[in-house]
Amino acid sequence: MRPTFSGFEIVKSGIQSAQVGLDVTGKNVANMGAEGYSRQVVDQKAIYYSSSTYKYAPVGSQRLGQGVTVDQIVQIRDKFLDIRFRAANSEYAEFAKKTEVLEHINDILDETTADGLGVLLEELFERLQALSTNSGKIEFASLVRSSAQKITETVQFYYNKLEEISALEKENLETITLVNLNKYLDEIAKLNKTIQNEELVGNTPNDLYDARNLLLDKVSKYLKIEVGEYPDDSPYKGALSVKCGNIMLVDPAQSDPVTLSLREEDGKLKIYAGDEELDLITGEIKGTLDILNGEGSFAEVEEFKGIPYYLKSLDSFAVKFAEVFNSLNGGDALFVGTGAKDFAISDGWLADANYLKVTTEGNQDSGKNDNVLRMIHALEQKHEITEKFVGSLSEFVLILMSDAAIDKNYYTDRASAADTVVSAIDNQRESVKGVSLNEETVNMIKYQRAFEASARVMTALDEMLDIIINRMGIVGR
């Protein structure tokens, strides 16, 4: 025996689940362009009979079940691709950052199409040569002086420009990057709590998952992170932990996430999470810190050639340049300054172009040129400019230029390779989670038809009952 109205209940569940299906289709289409959205599908299940329903049913009666139910609405997303995407994204961001800053450094040092320190050294060489054939003539001596002055000013200019870039990057790191990052971590911690609460009451907060994943993607640009999940029997089920190196940035066991801050220690900038130093593996912040800290060959262990490398190189250049020419000028300093920042020609030379000694023997007007030749020689000669560099002054400038260029070239290539990887993974991820208009249209038709069919069954049932109620047993009336 089947209950009279059992069929109605079954068909009703069909109608309702078709409506839910259409709602989800609508939502997918509506969110097609939303950043971070993962497509959702309806998880429909047939309701099987429960033995209690059939407790008093005769043996052998058909056990049909009770129609359909929408078990849950799930999002389609591949966690493994998320992990790969974030790892690639961190790496790309580091290389992209280095490429960006190295481009600025190159803009200053590159003399391929513009004139700079290298060209000025050539000019000084040229003018010393002219002085060597015209020694004792003040107009030639003053040409040499103006060349030397241009060199000192250019060294200062390079130094100031590099310091400017360094200051801007530091400010950017402190006031934008870290502020954003702390905000993201804070939001992730808050979402963790909300999601835990939602899951506790049995909901599946798909859109909150998306929001949290999007934030994790953004964090992965700055830092290399590991995202941890908790098993079903854990009190933190549903929450995610965010770890960088060995330090938990977001820990569900703590009420608040750690705050990241920039500190300076022994002349090096470091990122601290609370009171612990963060071990940055890769990411944009790592790129920025390498640029801000990297001393290249000046460090005990050769490291990235960041802005300090170029600043120290300019200092070494200025000191050596002054030392070489001052020692040739018989005690009268031609150049003053303790480094690149205050590198200038001396007041004595500024006041009198003939302060530069063209000869070491007798009268400066005699026309002798022996000391000018010594200066020309010094300009060409190899000097120990830094502990690790022996070569001429113009070679040093060329090396500086090529260091920046080679690094820029290297990181441009790496950034572009990393970009390809990120795009490929992103495409794969999108291929899983993205909304396809064709699919949604098919779903739309599917749910519409299902709805129609259920409604038709309902009508059929109704007509059958009509027969029983109104037309049965009226024979002979």
């Binding site: 391929t112 060597s132 010594r374 495409n427 909304v435």
Partner: protein, 326 residues
């Protein structure tokens, strides 16, 4: 692969941007006629090109130095030829004066012209060229020759304040760098074969010191002595003086030839630098210069690619199943 509209449009924008970037890059290169615009674009070639450029500039400087030396030598040449003419005239005059037919008046006249020759010679060796006393050896800033006003040596030639008869040897050097790899010895003096010595003292031309018989080897002084003898109409030992003067005249001719050789060396060296310069410029254009024909072909291809990319852009968002529902 499951393809969604977002993937298609994202990829499309990426390739469109890439295509436009390449087009714009090529455009810049063609406008500048260069293979690369930044050191970082091609570090190895840029480094080479930078070195080549430095060498070209250096050679420019050496060429400039050599031209200057050539100018000075051509000036020497004209002065020496001038002096050479004077010496020839003087020899004729002296031989005339020695002739027994000349009387005291005639000899006095000859003496006067010899004095005039002396002045001309002094003026010649004190010549300035481009503000430099070219016969002043290493100290081109000071006039080299003057005439003694002292009682016992009156009228004798002085070189930088010293009697030329007391100078036995000339050791003045004035170097210019012509790209021979200028080097210094341990006393910080130029090593001779690494630079070119362009010092010329008038002493080499006019002669200095005295010979084994105690006669002056200097042209100016010799003319003075002979003039004095003519003034005094004293013909004793005149043939010896004449013989000595002839020797001095020979030396002037030797100097004349010598300066020609020096000029030749400079011209030879200039030619060498010229061909070196040419080779470097060829190398430079190979390293930096853009092959326009090839570049414009590439540009055409890139342009075509970009246009094609734009054209498919209008069709990239293909209709979906949605468009075919009734």
């Amino acid at each position: 692969m499951r393809l969604t509209n977002n993937i298609i449009s994202k990829n499309y924008l990426k390739s469109l941007n890439k295509s436009l970037n390449e087009l714009s890059q090529m455009n810049t290169l063609i406008a500048a006629k260069r293979k690369y615009m930044n050191f970082a674009d091609d570090p190895i070639n840029a480094m080479r090109a930078m070195k080549v450029r430095q060498n070209i500039n250096k050679i420019d400087v050496y060429v400039e130095n050599l031209r200057e030396a050539a100018d000075i030598f051509s000036q020497y040449e004209s002065v020496i030829s001038n002096v050479n003419n004077i010496v020839s005239d003087a020899l004729v005059q002296v031989s005339q004066g020695m002739n027994g037919t000349s009387d005291a008046t005639a000899r006095y006249t000859i003496a006067q012209s010899l004095r005039a020759f002396q002045d001309a010679i002094l003026a010649a060796v004190n010549t300035q060229f481009a503000g430099k006393y070219i016969f002043s050896g290493e100290t081109v800033g000071v006039p080299p020759f003057s005439i003694s006003e002292e009682e016992d040596t009156k009228g004798m030639l002085l070189y930088k304040g010293m009697l030329v008869d007391n100078i036995s040897e000339v050791t003045e050097k004035r170097y210019i760098d012509i790209g021979l790899g200028l080097s210094l010895d341990e006393y910080s003096n130029v090593i001779p074969n690494t630079a070119r010595d362009i010092a010329v003292t008038g002493l080499e031309l006019l002669g200095c010191g005295v010979d084994e018989d105690g006669y002056t080897k200097n042209l100016y002084n010799m003319l003075g002595i002979i003039a004095k003898k003519f003034e005094e109409n004293d013909m004793s030992g005149m043939d010896v003086y004449y013989e000595k003067l002839q020797k001095i005249a020979d030396n002037v001719r030797v100097q004349y030839v010598g300066v020609g050789e020096k000029t030749e060396f400079i011209n030879f060296f200039l030619e060498r630098l010229d061909s070196e310069q040419f080779n470097l410029k060829v190398k430079q254009s190979r390293l930096e210069g853009l092959d326009l024909a090839e570049a414009i072909t590439t540009f055409g291809e890139l342009e075509l690619a970009y246009n094609a990319c734009l054209q498919i852009g209008t069709k990239i968002l293909q209709p979906s199943l949605l468009d075919f529902l009734d």
